[in-house]
Symmetry: C2
Subunit: 187 residues, 2 copies
């Protein structure tokens, strides 16, 4: 007699993402996930190998989410404005999903997802930089921008930046400086 399926892999991943944001990575327990999807903890092992795989799936889903957001910026025609929009989209995403963001970009141990997938999520940014700088230093330029944005956001989320001065202004100042450095080919 086939037993009815009470949940899905997608529901489990979604529950994992919600838990991670609401109670932190340590709050991602198999029991808590099971309770959210209406099942007992052992049943989860029919859909995911173990907690570690579930965490990786959560990160992968977060990367996909980010990729969609970044792709949505392709409508902006001017490459400089588009670059700004992409940086803002990245920061907005991080503010919405701080824990997910840090899991994607601030990996502590071994990478949770394919580094290429993470790099792919910011690919539109590489396109915009290419239009600005030409192909020779496009990769270097994209790395300059993503590294700065990632670092700024991480420090902002961690509180390291929270000392004196307008953080939004500091973001804008830095972004302007970097985009300008990319824009005018002085090196």
């Amino acid at each position: 007699m086939p037993a009815p399926e009470k949940t899905t892999r997608e529901a489990i991943i979604a529950a994992g993402r919600a838990l991670v944001e609401q109670v932190g990575v340590d709050g991602l327990t198999m029991q808590a996930v099971a309770e959210r999807v209406g099942v007992r903890a052992p049943s989860l092992y029919k859909r995911v190998r173990d907690r570690d795989e579930l965490l990786s799936l959560v990160v992968a889903a977060t990367v996909e989410d980010l990729t969609l957001r970044m792709d949505a910026t392709s409508t902006v025609p001017d490459p400089r404005a588009r670059l700004m929009a992409q940086a803002h989209a990245l920061r907005a995403f991080a503010h919405e999903q701080p824990v997910g963001f840090s899991l994607v970009f601030a990996a502590h141990g071994a990478p949770r997802v394919e580094p290429s997938a993470v790099a792919g999520s910011v690919a539109p940014l590489l396109d915009a930089v290419t239009e600005l700088t030409g192909p020779e230093h496009a990769l270097d330029g994209a790395r300059l921008l993503t590294a700065w944005a990632n670092g700024f956001i991480t420090m902002e989320l961690g509180g390291t930046l929270r000392m004196g001065g307008d953080i939004d202004a500091a973001w804008r100042w830095g972004l302007d400086r970097i985009v300008s450095a990319l824009d005018r080919p002085s090196a």
Copy 2:
């Protein structure tokens, strides 16, 4: 009858730092720490409140270590060269203690140490930037550099950068761009 003290708080923290680098944050178990310092796990609670405090102490010690390294760069007279040396010192530290570095700068949840302590560790960098830019945009400039360096190193450690091209060259290219942007006052 007074019982002999078999370990110290410092030894426990040192054991914690070693464990964290060798087996990751999850490997920092009270049992593993106890074994390293030659004591049983319950005895650790005479020196540290709980595992969470121990982890915070590990991070704090790492910040102190980094502060010493950064302070050592103050011998370089030219501010531009000093800034380069400081960036390199930061990166070298991260390569030596990748897990500790990520714990300090890539906090996942609530800050483990005073954000001001982390900011203080890179204070010499602020001084060099001030010499370069003048006081008006010194803070913004220091944030620009630290954010970039932190982001670059984090992505490097996480593998996100590990795709095509010389990473050292990308680091040098980015550092040169940023320092130049700070050096020549064009904005």
